[in-house]
C-alpha cells in the first residue's frame, strides 16, 4: 500500500511537471504579448521595453520557465501582471466558494444522476427508461447560460424563493448547485444505468434472487455497491473540472469562484494567474483520481492496489 501510494505520488508529480511545462510553453508561443496588456494603449515603446525587462519577459524561454518553477518550488506563485497581487492570495480567496459549489454540485449530480440511472436500469426498455435517457441527453447538451438564467428567472426573480445571485448563505448555493447538478446529471445517469444493467445480469444477482431475497435487498445490498464503482472514478474527474472553474454558471449567479478569475486572466494574458489556476486544477484532477482509486477497494474488496 505504501509503495503503491509512493509510486502514484511520484507519477502525479511528473504529470504536474509536464502540465506546467506545456502550459508555460503554450503561453510563451501564443501570439499575444502580455507586456502590451500591462503597458496599455498609450504606452511608448520605451515603457513597453522597460516593463518587459522588469518582468524578465525578455529572457529566453528556458530561463523564464526555470525562474517560474524555482519560485513555485519555494511556494511562490508570483504576482499577477495586471493586478500586482499575489496569485496565491487571489486563488486562495476564491477557493472556499469553488469548493463549496463543487460539493453542492456533485451532491446534486449524484442524487439526480444515480436516481435516474437506477430507475432506468430497473425498468430497462420501458417508456420511463426512454424518457429518462432522452432527458439526460437534453441536460448534458443544454447551454449553461440558458439553463442558469432560466432557473434564476423562475426561482429567484419570479417566485422569490432564492436571492438573485450572490454568495454567503446556503440559500445562495442552492440555485447554482442545482443548475450544475441538472447539467451534469446526464453523465452519471447514463453511466449508472449501463453499469447497473451489467451488474443485474451477473451470476451473483441470480444467486441472490434464487435465495429468495427481496428485490429491495438485492438492489441495495448486492447490485448497487458493485454498480457504483465506475461512478466513483467519474467523481474524480468531475472534481478536476469544477476546480478549473465553471465560468458561465459562476458569472450568472455572481459566484466568486476560480472560473471567473481564470477567464479574466486568459482574456488579458495574465500568465501568472493562468499558470496558477491551471496547476491548482491539475493538482485537483490528479488528487481526485488518486482518491477515487484509493476508495475503490473500500467498496469492492476484490480490488487490490498494487
Amino acid at each position: 500500500m505504501a509503495a503503491y501510494l509512493l509510486r502514484r505520488l511520484i507519477q502525479s508529480a511528473l504529470i504536474l511537471l509536464g502540465v506546467s511545462f506545456i502550459t508555460f510553453f503554450l503561453l510563451y508561443v501564443l501570439p499575444a504579448d502580455p507586456v502590451r496588456q500591462i503597458a496599455g494603449r498609450s504606452a511608448t515603446a520605451q515603457t513597453v521595453e522597460n516593463i518587459r525587462e522588469q518582468l524578465g519577459l525578455d529572457k529566453p524561454f528556458v530561463v523564464q520557465y526555470a525562474r517560474y518553477m524555482g519560485g513555485l518550488l519555494q511556494g511562490d506563485m508570483g504576482r499577477s501582471y495586471l493586478q500586482k497581487t499575489q496569485v496565491a492570495e487571489l486563488i486562495w480567496s476564491r477557493l472556499p466558494a469553488t469548493l463549496l459549489l463543487m460539493a453542492g454540485a456533485i451532491f446534486c449530480e449524484l442524487v439526480l444522476g444515480l436516481t435516474m440511472g437506477i430507475i432506468a436500469a430497473l425498468w430497462r426498455g420501458r417508456s420511463i427508461d426512454q424518457t429518462l435517457m432522452v432527458t439526460s441527453f437534453i441536460t448534458v447538451s443544454a447551454p449553461q447560460f440558458v439553463v442558469s438564467l432560466l432557473l434564476l428567472y423562475i426561482f429567484a426573480v419570479k417566485l422569490g424563493w432564492f436571492p438573485i445571485g450572490g454568495y454567503g448563505t446556503f440559500a445562495h448555493l442552492v440555485l447554482p448547485a442545482v443548475t450544475l447538478g441538472i447539467l451534469g446529471s446526464g453523465w452519471y445517469s447514463r453511466m449508472m444505468r449501463s453499469s447497473m444493467i451489467d451488474v443485474l445480469r451477473a451470476d451473483y444477482i441470480r444467486t441472490a434472487r434464487a435465495k429468495g431475497l427481496t428485490r429491495a435487498r438485492i438492489i441495495l445490498r448486492h447490485a448497487l455497491p458493485n454498480a457504483i464503482l465506475p461512478v466513483i472514478a467519474m467523481i474524480g474527474i468531475d472534481i478536476g473540472i469544477f476546480m478549473g472553474g465553471i465560468v458561465v454558471v459562476e458569472s450568472v449567479f455572481g459566484w466568486p469562484g476560480i472560473g471567473q478569475l481564470a477567464w479574466q486572466a486568459i482574456q488579458r494574458v495574465d500568465i501568472p494567474i493562468i499558470m496558477g489556476v491551471t496547476l491548482v486544477s491539475a493538482c485537483a484532477i490528479v488528487l481526485g483520481n488518486l482518491l477515487a482509486d484509493l476508495i475503490a477497494p473500500l467498496i469492492d474488496p476484490r480490488i487490490r492496489l498494487r
Binding site: 499575444a32 498609450s42 511608448t44 515603457t47 493586478q83 458569472s251 450568472v252 471567473q260
Partner: protein, 537 residues
C-alpha cells in the same frame, strides 16, 4: 425630449471651453444613504499609477485627487489639489499653488513633497505605469528613475514648480489624469506592491472593504476638502455579475446602477417600457469605432482603394446592429470632442462610386483581404456587416475572429490588413483632440507594437501636430482647435481609417438616484460621477 435636453446640456458645456466656473452641486441633494453598483469583471487595481481601464478609472478618481480636475459632467478643466497655477511666458514652467489643509485618508496633511513623490513614482520605470508616457514633456523624463524627475521641484510646502522640456498645450489635462494623482509615500512604502489593494488618497471616498472577487465598499471621506461633497455615505461595488442578471436585480430594486450598462438583448425591452426608459440617461462619449486600413499592405497602399472602402461601408446599418446605440461617424474625432469639424460631410455611402474608384485603381475585379476582429459580441456581427458591404464592391474580406490580445498583437505587428477597432479602441484619455492623433494616427504609434494599426505616418501632419501642441496659451485655444481640425481633415484625405460610429452612452439608474443627468454621462467618470450623485431615500 429628455434625450434632447441631455445632449443639449452637453453641447452647451462644450461650447464654452476653458471656462472653469465653480460647480454648484444639485441644491436638492441630500447627504446620506448607500448605493450598489455591479460589474462583471473584477476590479484589477486601485493604484492610480497602474489602473487603466474604464471600470477602475472612475473609482480611482473618487479615491484620489490630482492637481487638476474636471467640472462634473463636462470636459472643462478646473483646479483640483492646486488652488491656482501660473504658466510662464514661454509655456515651459508651471507653478502650482496647493490648497492648504488637505488631508490624506491616513490623516496626514498633503504637501508639495507628496506631489513630487507621486510624479517621480509614476515615471519611475520600476513602477511599470502604463501612463508614464503621458509625462514625456516634463524635463528629465528620459532619465526618470529612483532619483526622480529633475523637472519637478518643491519650492515650499505648498508650491510645486514643474519645468517642461517642450511646450505642451495638453499639460493641464495630463495633470488631471489619474496617473497624476497625489499619493502619500508612507502608505505606498508600507503596502508595497499591494498599494493597489490598499489605496490611500485625498479623494471624496476611502476604501473601507475589499473582499477579493466579491465586493468593494467605498466610505465617505468626512474630511474631504471640497465642502459639501460627497453626498453618499457609502458605495458598494459587487463584482462578478452577468449584466443581464444585474439588470434583473435593478428591476427588483437590489441594484442602483449596473456598471456594464444595459445588455444588448434587453435594450429594446427597457427602452420600450416608458417607466424604465425614463431612468435611462443618454449622452455622448469620447469614443470612435473605426476600421483601420493598413497603408503598407497592397492594395490598401493605394489611396483610391482606401477611399473606395470608405464609400462602401453602410454605417447606418452597422449602428442598427448595436440597437442604434451610436451615431455614424465621418472623421476620427467624436462630435463632443473639441476640434470636431462640424461642416465636414465625410465620404458618402456610395457603392457604385466605390466600384468606380476601384476600377480606376486597376482593381475592377476586386481583391481578397483579411479583416481582424475581437471575438466578443457585437464585434463579430459588425465584422460580418462590413464583410457584406465590401463584397458588394467586389472585395472578399476573410474575417479573423480572435481574442483581444491576439488582435492587438496583429495590429501592432502590422500584419493585419484591416481591423475593426470595436472592444479595443479608441476612448479618449482626456478631452483634447491631440489624444486621438499621436498613438493611433501619428508616426510615433506606427512603429512595431504601436496602436497605429494603419501604420499611417505623414511627417507633414506630424509636424502640424507638434505645432498645435506647442500652442499652450489659453488665448490661442481657438486657433489650436482649428489646427487640429485641419490635421484630421488631412488624415481623412488620405483615408487610413474608415470612421464608423461614435458610441452613445446609456446609463440606467434606480428610481431613488438623484443628481443632474450630466453626472450619469460624465465624459470623464464612467459610469457616473460618484462624488456628486445622491439618493432620495
Amino acid at each position: 425630449m429628455k434625450k434632447l435636453l441631455a445632449s443639449t446640456a452637453v453641447m452647451l458645456a462644450l461650447a464654452l471651453p476653458g471656462v472653469a466656473q465653480d460647480y454648484t452641486p444639485d441644491p436638492a441633494a441630500k447627504p446620506g444613504g448607500s448605493i450598489t453598483i455591479t460589474y462583471k469583471d473584477d476590479v484589477a487595481t486601485l493604484d492610480p499609477a497602474i489602473g487603466y481601464d474604464w471600470q477602475n478609472w472612475s473609482m480611482i478618481k473618487s479615491l484620489f485627487d490630482g492637481l487638476m480636475d474636471y467640472t462634473p459632467g463636462t470636459t472643462d478643466l478646473r483646479p483640483g489639489l492646486a488652488e491656482s497655477y501660473e504658466i510662464s511666458e514661454d509655456g515651459l514652467i508651471y507653478t502650482f499653488k496647493l490648497r492648504a489643509g488637505v488631508k490624506f485618508h491616513n490623516g496626514r496633511e498633503m504637501t508639495a513633497e507628496d506631489v513630487k513623490y507621486s510624479l517621480d513614482r509614476v515615471t519611475n520605470p520600476e513602477t511599470q505605469s502604463p501612463g508614464a508616457g503621458f509625462f514625456g514633456a516634463i524635463a528629465g523624463f528620459e532619465n526618470a528613475g529612483p532619483g526622480g524627475l529633475s523637472g519637478v521641484e518643491v519650492v515650499d510646502p505648498l508650491t510645486v514648480k514643474i519645468t517642461l522640456s517642450r511646450p505642451d498645450a495638453t499639460f493641464l489635462h495630463v495633470m488631471a489624469l489619474n496617473f497624476a494623482s497625489v499619493v502619500p509615500k508612507e502608505a505606498v512604502d508600507e503596502a508595497g506592491a499591494d498599494f493597489g489593494k490598499k489605496p490611500v488618497g485625498t479623494g471624496a471616498y476611502k476604501l473601507a472593504e475589499w473582499t477579493l472577487g466579491q465586493r468593494l465598499v467605498f466610505e465617505k471621506n468626512a474630511d474631504y476638502w471640497r465642502p459639501g461633497v460627497p453626498f453618499l455615505d457609502s458605495i458598494v461595488f459587487e463584482v462578478g455579475q452577468e449584466p443581464v442578471v444585474a439588470l434583473l436585480r435593478l428591476q427588483n430594486g437590489e441594484v442602483d446602477l449596473p456598471g456594464d450598462g444595459i445588455p444588448p438583448a434587453k435594450f429594446q425591452e427597457v427602452m420600450g417600457d416608458p417607466a424604465q426608459a425614463a431612468r435611462v440617461v443618454q449622452g455622448g462619449q469620447l469614443q470612435t469605432g473605426y476600421i483601420t486600413l493598413n497603408v503598407t499592405i497592397p492594395p490598401l497602399d493605394k489611396v483610391e482603394v482606401r477611399k473606395a472602402i470608405n464609400m462602401a461601408i453602410n454605417k447606418e446599418r452597422i449602428t442598427q446592429i448595436i440597437n442604434g446605440r451610436a451615431i455614424p461617424a465621418n472623421q476620427p474625432l467624436p462630435p463632443s470632442m473639441p476640434g470636431y469639424t462640424k461642416d465636414y460631410a465625410g465620404y458618402p455611402y456610395d457603392p457604385e462610386g466605390a466600384k468606380k474608384l476601384l476600377a480606376d485603381a486597376g482593381l475592377a475585379d476586386g481583391f481578397e483581404t483579411e479583416l481582424y476582429v475581437m471575438n466578443t459580441d457585437p464585434n463579430p456581427r459588425i465584422a460580418q456587416a462590413i464583410q457584406q458591404d465590401l463584397a458588394a464592391i467586389g472585395i472578399k474580406a476573410n474575417i479573423q475572429n480572435l481574442a483581444q490580445a491576439n488582435v492587438i498583437e496583429a495590429g501592432g505587428a502590422g500584419t493585419a490588413p484591416m481591423i475593426w477597432s470595436g472592444g479595443m479602441a479608441w476612448i479618449a484619455d482626456f478631452p483634447d483632440p491631440s489624444n486621438f492623433y499621436g498613438p493611433i494616427l501619428g508616426c510615433a504609434g506606427a512603429g512595431e507594437g504601436g496602436w497605429n494599426w494603419s501604420k499611417f505616418c505623414d511627417p507633414a501632419l506630424d509636424a502640424k501636430a507638434v505645432e498645435a501642441d506647442s500652442m499652450f496659451d489659453p488665448a490661442k485655444s481657438a486657433d489650436r482647435l482649428k489646427l487640429w481640425s485641419d490635421i484630421y481633415m488631412g488624415v481623412m484625405e488620405q483615408a487610413p481609417w474608415v470612421p464608423v460610429f461614435n458610441e452613445e452612452r446609456y446609463t440606467m439608474k434606480s428610481e431613488r438616484m438623484g443628481g443632474e443627468d450630466a453626472l450619469y454621462v460624465d465624459p470623464v467618470s464612467i459610469p457616473v460621477n460618484y462624488d456628486y450623485v445622491w439618493v432620495k431615500q
